[in-house]
Symmetry: C2
Subunit: 327 residues, 2 copies
């Protein structure tokens, strides 16, 4: 038996991306106050996080401004209003935004990196959109951004589709290929398989593998740890697990696990208490029976989200019977 | 890469013990109505579970009946009032009770197994109590019970202490040696180490290794899965995670993971909806910031329990500062 205790040491190259505003915004149509976004930003800086994903760079046609808040589009003036003259050099924090294939006017809406507080564009796409994703990555890279490739809903596609996507992304300038468990379906042995597959496909390219887990089965943190153990150096989390449906790997749990002394959990606990936990008065997220059920069945969480927002939200049995009978 | 998918097959020898009443009773001093205990019992039978731990066999002197409900003592007449003429042969479910070293009048309070609906006595003990635990196991075995050895708070003792306990238990008639993460502190690599250590110490004795996880870090289910992957065939869970402090591995999540068709999650969801979830009106359990903090620091959850029951329960930052300053 090894005498080593890897759980009390750390890898300096492991970087944390907090996507509270981006993923949590899916719960409230990104209708956050500037004060809220600013508090999360300061918490990320003070906690020593590496990246903060502050929203989407999505189309105002697809997501009109009368229904969606500014963090769905991340217009430069909205960013500047909250983060001022932010620079990564001054704060240690890089800012990221996510652009979806099929939902973004990326050819027009993304300004050169030198003119933006954003440092990174994360390109989210489904397998069938990989060709657009490759174009987006190249375009954003040419504009001066670090880029990542986030293949969504990986639990719902075939091995051949995954392999084809990985081959296409390996040839791009993306810095990171992210394992995304959109439905919160994956168990640890599946994380192992995917990590090894992704890492093998990226070998020799200099790319990192990332992990973005959802908490339907209370496994977001555990699956993130598993990926880290295997070598994953880019990990996503959200403060208090705030995110769509069952939510995400909790930033405060992740920082408790990571032993890099540059991280400090106290500012995260502070922003939870004053900003994020109070959202529970009006918003619903986190693991619950409906999300357990859709996760176990490898389904998109939308039916569970509708149920938990409806009048029968506590009728777990009716939801179970409905989902089982319809599947 | 292996083509096998172990997560969709099952091991028939893997047995589930639901300890909702026993561990959940630590939240309300075991003051359950007979109707509640009966509903949990029927759910366990209907779900195809292997064992139900219905309470403690603890001393009425240490836990007086004016403060503690009947499931702290599991008097035979209380058991019979709820489970009637229960037999394992008729229901497929074996009933268990836990007896603590140092807190039980085990020499007098435990009747022969032939006269009780109980099939199993689980002996809980701290390392320094191992000699009494060995006597308890032998005594209960002679009375006709299956027995287990549950070494508590394993994260807080030395390797030598663990080794000494394992050697002592290996020589007893206990059927199972249980890994107990009382403080909800263990990460996956530590579970691996402990499982391998426990399994090696029990090799050749015919004993199984069990796992009892707490959910302080949202890892109870994940750590249970990890132990199962390694070969653990005796796993504890509670319905809706109901249990002391941060609670336990959720029975409904565990049954969703296990693929043995004899298990049925629907009765568990039903009893959650009608019996367990409504307890949340008056009782507090489950992972939250205070339990995250004590878990990360390898502390007993008692300070977090007091805090979550007190007037400042939402002042996470004050709790963090208090615990950090006192540690």
């Amino acid at each position: 038996m090894s005498e080593k205790a890897p759980w009390i040491t750390y890898r300096p190259e492991l970087k944390v991306l907090d996507c509270t505003i981006r993923d949590g915004g899916l719960v409230n149509a990104h209708q956050f106050s500037d004060a809220f976004v600013g508090a999360v930003y300061r918490a990320c800086v003070d906690a020593g996080l590496d990246y903060m994903e502050i929203g989407y760079k999505n189309s105002k046609k697809v997501f009109p401004t009368d229904k969606f808040g500014p963090w769905r589009h991340c217009a430069e003036e909205d960013l500047r209003r909250v983060v001022g003259d932010h620079t990564a050099a001054a704060t240690g924090l890089k800012l990221a935004a996510m652009a979806d294939a099929g939902k973004s006017d990326w050819q027009h809406d993304i300004v050169p990196a030198a003119d933006s507080p954003l440092d990174m564009i994360r390109v989210a796409f489904y397998a069938h959109q990989v060709s657009e994703a490759v174009e987006m990555i190249r375009h954003c890279h040419e504009l001066g951004y670090e880029t990542t490739a986030n293949l969504m809903a990986v639990s719902n596609i075939t091995e051949e589709e995954i392999d084809t996507v990985l081959e296409a992304i390996a040839a791009t300038p993306a810095s990171t290929m992210v394992i995304v468990d959109s439905f919160g379906y994956l168990y640890r042995e599946q994380i192992d398989r995917l990590y090894k597959k992704y890492a093998a496909a990226m070998a020799g390219t200099g790319k990192e593998v990332g992990i973005h887990a959802h908490n339907n089965l209370q496994l977001a943190f555990a699956n993130t740890i598993e990926a880290i153990i295997l070598g994953c150096n880019r990990v996503d989390s959200t403060i208090y697990g705030f995110g769509r449906g069952a939510g995400n790997c909790h930033t405060e749990l992740l920082l408790g696990f990571l032993r890099n002394p540059k991280f400090n959990v106290r500012p995260i606990i502070e922003v939870i208490q004053h900003q994020v936990a109070p959202l529970r008065k009006d918003l619903v997220w986190g693991p619950s029976i409906p999300f357990n059920i859709t996760g176990q069945l490898n389904q998109h969480p939308r039916t569970a989200i509708e149920w938990t927002e409806g009048p029968n939200r506590d009728d777990y049995l009716a939801f179970y019977d409905k989902v089982v009978s319809e599947s």
